[in-house]
Amino acid sequence: MSNSATEMLVAACIQFLQAHPPFDRMEAEALRFLAEHVRLAHYPKGAQILSSEMGVARTLYILQHGRVQVRASGVASSSNVESAPNTLGPGQAFAIAALMAQRPTSSSYVAREEVFCYELPADDFFTLTQKSTVFNLFCSQYIAGLLRQSQQQLQLQFAQRAAEQKTMNSPLAVIVKREPVSVAPETSIRQVVALMADRHLGSMVVVDADEQPVGIFTLSDVLKRIVLPGTSLEQPISSVMSATPQTLPLAANAHDAALAMAMHGIRHVLAVDEGGRLKGVVSERDLFKLQGAGLRQIRHAIDAASSLDVLQHAREDIRQLSLTMLAEGVGGQEITQFISTLNDTVTRRIIEINLDRHDLYGIDWAWLSFGSEGRDEQTFISDQDNGIVYICTDIMDRELTQLRFLDFARDVNADLDTCGFPLCKGNIMASNPGLCLTLEEWEERFAQWVRTPEPQALLNATIFFDFRPLYGRFNLAHRMRLSLFRQTNGNPLFLRMLAQNALSVSPPLGRIRDFVTSDDPEHSGTIDLKKYGVRLFTDAARVFALARQVEATNTATRIKRAGALMNISQEDVAASLEGFNFIQLLRLRHQHFEQEHGRAGDNFIRPDELNEIERRILKEAFRQARKLQARLKLDYQL
């Protein structure tokens, strides 16, 4: 029933809305629909308009008059205490995110004065998002705004944990964890050195009967004071120790310790209690860890490393630094790339160390990485995926040359394992004779997979076609790439099959529930973010890249470069990268937590344990994956 009264009230409502974004830009028809379907409600001062206890959001609220106070509630923890309470005024809308996710709101909304609200029922809200592209865009941007908030929240969480962790301001009492090992002055040098070797100690403190330190003996003293002078090992330790060691009270902080070390040119400071009794040893290395090793220091340490020991430490430093980056809000893409880059450095160093023992002089060869390492997308738990390509000029030498490379590769693989890159369960390693091949053999292998795209060949393509040279003659890898493009170009069927393979896994978005979780009893209620997350993007990106002859292996780079050639808009490219990065970030965070709790670290995340905003963004990320898949379907008529 249209009548002049309704007409007048609706017109007035439209006029009000037009004074406020996003309604000022909204299409006339949609705006009229909105004004016709809202109801005006009133809330007296102090009334709770909406809160998480009220259940799933059923209404969009547009403030017509008065102010509303927003308080974050429900969403995890104290991190929100920081965010100042927020006030909304006329023209501002709320409960958009909760409506879109069909979940309870995460904040509570309280009227600060007499408040009038236009209220739009959920059904009409969804109709409106369909009717109006402006409103739809507004809602997506609103969600994007929440994404930033969520990242800030994430940073805050990590920053808080970082703060709980030790800093240079922490007292020594917090820094020294291990019970100090000490000996009496009359202990023989032999006993002391044996004890140090046994316990892997870099230093030994010598204490008197009152447990007060009287001297210190360090590993570097062994050379200068025992080996070179030929000191008898039966002598007491007091004869070779450095007397009157530097001590600091337990209440002194790490800064003081660093200062003491710098002033006296020493590497160890002893922490003592009020009675002067030894409570712990602080080494230069402990302080270095506190400072948080910088990228340059780590690289320097790796490049200078002559033993696996140092490289092992470097791996730990990389982990620490990645964590710091996570806390500083660095994106998933940057962190995975960073981990890959430093892992490359470690790998190169290991290769160099092994080259000293293996003579490969005069042969053109390159060390290749595959899989996630080949894509520059390593996380905390990536294992080894590598191979070797070499040139064999004389066919007679082939077998012998391969044996030499296999010997070399076995050592490198073992050393990598020692340094925290676990051996590949699928034996995708350079020490596998099938992956230590001449250029011609690699080309032949690629050609075979492309010509006969059976399931195993397609699976191989997803691992090996993401190859990247890491050490040696990079031009060999380039030649492999060109030959691969020649093959894929000449075999359109292969790309179609590869696309089909990429579509075999769908984003785990549910029709009824938000997410489809694993029905494997061992991982029930979880989503495997590798199989059902990252892989959706990498698989699609691989097809895009091969089809457009984009040389890059990195997923983000592939999507960017191929996207430009495919006329995908910059916004769409950015949106899919954001989705991909968010999934990577969730993986990194999850792996970090798992490892911190002494577990191996996997990719199974529980959507139930994410907060509302994260769930909402994860859903959006999966939708982005679906968009990439839709493009594949379109391109290959699947």
């Binding site: 029933m1 009548n3 002049s4 009264a5 309704t6 007048m8 009230l9 609706v10 007035a12 409502c13 004004a35 016709e36 809202v38 109801r39 005006l40 409600a41 009133h42 809330y43 007296p44 009334a47 008059h65 007499e114 009038f116 209220e119």
Partner: protein, 238 residues
């Protein structure tokens, strides 16, 4: 006392000028159940009305327009609104022939006003009525209904001009009327003195009133009626 009013309504002589269809509609309105005034404000339907007239004399001035809108469960739905135009309010403007209601003039069955008033009856139903300054508004509407439809409306009225000063005692309100209340709560008018606009503004005052009333123990239409009665009694005896 529904039986009682029905007894009398039976005695009312149906206006011979009305068509059978119109009389049937009026009879149907009479049969509508009377709502329970003991239900919460937020579980009932109020109808807020305002009028435009040619002047302020209840006996001699004529009704030009009625604006009405419902407040259902405490909310205003723009689709649940009514506008009845009897005669242009502009003085001097020549009213369109047959559209004006003159005292004692015979309404004609084909007259659009009769149908409009019947629609109005059905729009309101038997809901409790809200107005600012009920004696004037009610008199104007009820007189017109009696003249044109020959009925005695007999619905409950609540006058915000009486209820609000009691619920908002701390508000300085020295006879400022509707405008003062609108000012106080900074409620904007679409077009002041337009019947629909004023009814809309009054409806927002009602929303504020029932929220405050509910807070102070006046939870139902019946309790507001009681409150008004008590206040009138106090003022008339004092």
């Amino acid at each position: 006392m529904a039986w009682f009013s029905r007894l009398f309504s039976g005695q009312e002589t149906p206006n011979p000028a009305l068509t059978a269809g119109q009389q049937q509609l009026i009879a149907a309105w009479r049969q509508l159940p009377v709502p329970d005034l003991q239900r919460s404000h937020y579980r009932c339907r109020y109808v807020v009305v305002d009028v435009e007239t040619t002047g302020i004399n209840v006996r001699t001035d004529r009704l030009c327009a009625i604006g009405a809108l419902a407040v259902v469960d405490g909310q205003i739905d723009f689709k649940d609104a009514f506008h009845l135009l009897a005669e242009p309010a502009e003085p001097g403007a020549d009213p369109a022939p047959g559209l004006s209601v003159r005292p004692h003039s015979e309404p004609v069955a084909g007259h659009p006003l009769v149908d409009a008033l019947i629609s109005f009856l059905h729009f309101v139903g038997k809901a409790p009525l809200i107005a600012y300054n009920v004696p004037f508004v009610a008199a104007m509407i009820e007189r017109t209904l009696t003249e044109c439809l020959g009925i005695d409306w007999g619905l409950a009225w609540i006058d915000l001009a009486w209820v609000m000063p009691d619920l908002f005692r701390d508000v300085e309100h020295a006879g400022g009327g509707l405008d003062a209340w609108l000012d106080h709560f900074s409620i904007a008018s679409i077009r002041r003195h337009h019947a629909v606009s004023d009814a809309y503004a009054t409806a927002q005052l009602l929303q504020i009133t029932i929220a405050s009333g509910a807070h102070k123990g006046f939870m139902t239409p019946a309790s507001l009626i009681e409150l008004e009665k008590a206040r009138r009694h106090l003022h008339q005896s004092g």
